[in-house]
Symmetry: C2
């Protein structure tokens, strides 16, 4: 089934304890698309880029079933650029540069050809823009997933609360769940947040895995213990892309499907961090994904007589 | 099967964001015994207490199948006392008072009646004392589990490395695994540590669960997401007690049994933190444990077609 993804297509320059890149292609919608393209088609991208975004990257995305009618190309401006440096623990990072460039004028438009999409992934963006995409859709998708961050909680909480009322799944990290709810306990935080609108809350804990909450259930997906995390950039977006890609693949939205979706998301994210940028997401095959999923089964599978 | 437990029986005074206790009964061997007593008998305690350790506590332990022939009572001294204050995140704490008292003279002696024990749990103690217990045993137990901490890595690394050569399972937390190995990646740390002697390494990550490593396998057990962690004191010892109690119950030591043992340990630890001290470990029934184990199954169980 079809998935609309809204988010950035951009450049990143990344420094980690293991190495350093010049400007490479990144952006939330880019990671979501590469991840989801392993699981479902078509993917319908809504984003904005400048005159510097590589044509080869666009072609590569198209080859993977990604439609680009909703990607605005601004001829006289540059693409969004972010530069950051990760600390040794890879969970914290310093932003070195944020050049909004085209992103300052982003006003997402849903092309007619995208109308009727089954799934909607709203990448981390200003909440009013996320809301505007939902309002442009003539038929409500089966499932709307939203990613956001602490910055919007601090600067646009009212708009964020408005859009939360209209989505099915919220993905945030543990400190953001605490910030949004004002509760330290993640269980209490989840109950609060689920009262704000979403049916499901996914709390991402990086190397410590992810928790899925519904009103009555909770599920835990571990992160695969890796020898090295080379570059965590895009891991959260890849996780979201794997989740929504799996859901679109099976056409479901129930809790059981959500559980499996999170395992797919975790599996794809575990590839993402193995090299800089989107490289691993482009290299991996269906067989690689299959084998990685097997590792997740082995990682948590135990025998108990009850 | 029988389990020898070596460790402290002591008093704690605890302050958490949720409340405060006066001196209550604690100590690593106490927690191990209460946890393991739900799963196997007899438990054979080796410890040291002063004249102030409550007779009712000794009687309660005896009722639960805990033998006390190896507990030295020093008539003119006081029991070990620790006082600490937890921060909001419950993962970090400040030690306020450490009164060694009888512990300064602890020289564990294995009573003849304990000889031939099947399992040995060496609670966190000076490594030379842990080694002395192993050397006193005429028949090597089927499995020796050892707990230790950063303090001994800083002050007695040589002795610690000696005892590590003689044990089957090491339980430490994630920062201790990094410290012991000098590796930041837990996977690399585990490979290093397994070369020091143990067949299995359990890395405890508190609210983030626990990882079990063998030379070829890895298993992850989540922590149950709780509304409130009331008092984490003793959770690690309870976890160890649940592990070794389960192993003694089934009489096994293979990787499959270790996996289930860790789930039992996690389940018992999830009770421990619900109230101050050992209270919950005394209250819970077989039915409570059974229901809690079911929650662990639900927490990680997913359906995937591979």
């Amino acid at each position: 089934m079809s998935v609309i993804t809204v988010g950035t297509m951009a450049f990143d320059a990344i420094e980690t304890p293991f190495g350093k890149t010049d400007k490479i292609v990144g952006g939330s919608a880019t990671y979501v698309a590469y991840a989801a393209s392993h699981l479902t088609r078509p993917l319908q991208q809504i984003s904005i880029v400048g005159n510097d975004f590589p044509k080869e990257e666009m072609d590569e995305l198209k080859r993977r079933g990604v439609q680009l009618a909703g990607v605005e190309v601004v001829p006289d401006k540059k693409s969004f650029f972010w530069s950051g440096k990760y600390h040794m623990d890879m969970n914290s990072r310093d932003t070195l540069v944020t050049d909004l460039n085209v992103l300052a004028d982003f006003n997402p438009k849903v092309p007619d050809t995208y109308q009727g999409a089954d799934y909607l992934m709203l990448g981390n963006l200003m909440p009013s823009l996320q809301l505007s995409v939902i309002e442009q859709l003539k038929i409500r998708p089966k499932l709307i997933m939203l990613d956001t961050m602490n910055f919007w909680m601090e600067t646009a909480m009212d708009d964020l609360k408005k859009v939360l009322k209209k989505v099915d799944v919220l993905t945030i990290n543990d400190s953001e769940a605490r910030q949004l709810s004002g509760e330290f306990s993640l269980v209490r935080a989840a109950h609060d947040i689920l009262r704000m609108g979403p049916k499901y809350l996914i709390v991402k804990k990086g190397e410590h895995g992810a928790l899925l909450f519904s009103r009555n259930d909770v599920f835990f997906a571990p992160a695969l213990p890796l020898e090295d995390v080379f570059d965590p950039t895009g891991a959260g977006d890849t996780f979201a892309g794997g989740c929504i890609g799996y859901l679109a693949h099976v056409g479901k939205t129930d809790f059981e499907a959500m559980k499996t979706a999170i395992i797919y998301g975790s599996a794809l994210a575990s590839f993402c961090v193995e090299k800089f940028g989107t490289q691993r997401l482009k290299e991996i095959t269906q067989k690689d994904i299959h084998n990685r999923l097997k590792k997740f089964v082995q990682l948590v599978n135990f025998d108990i007589k009850l």
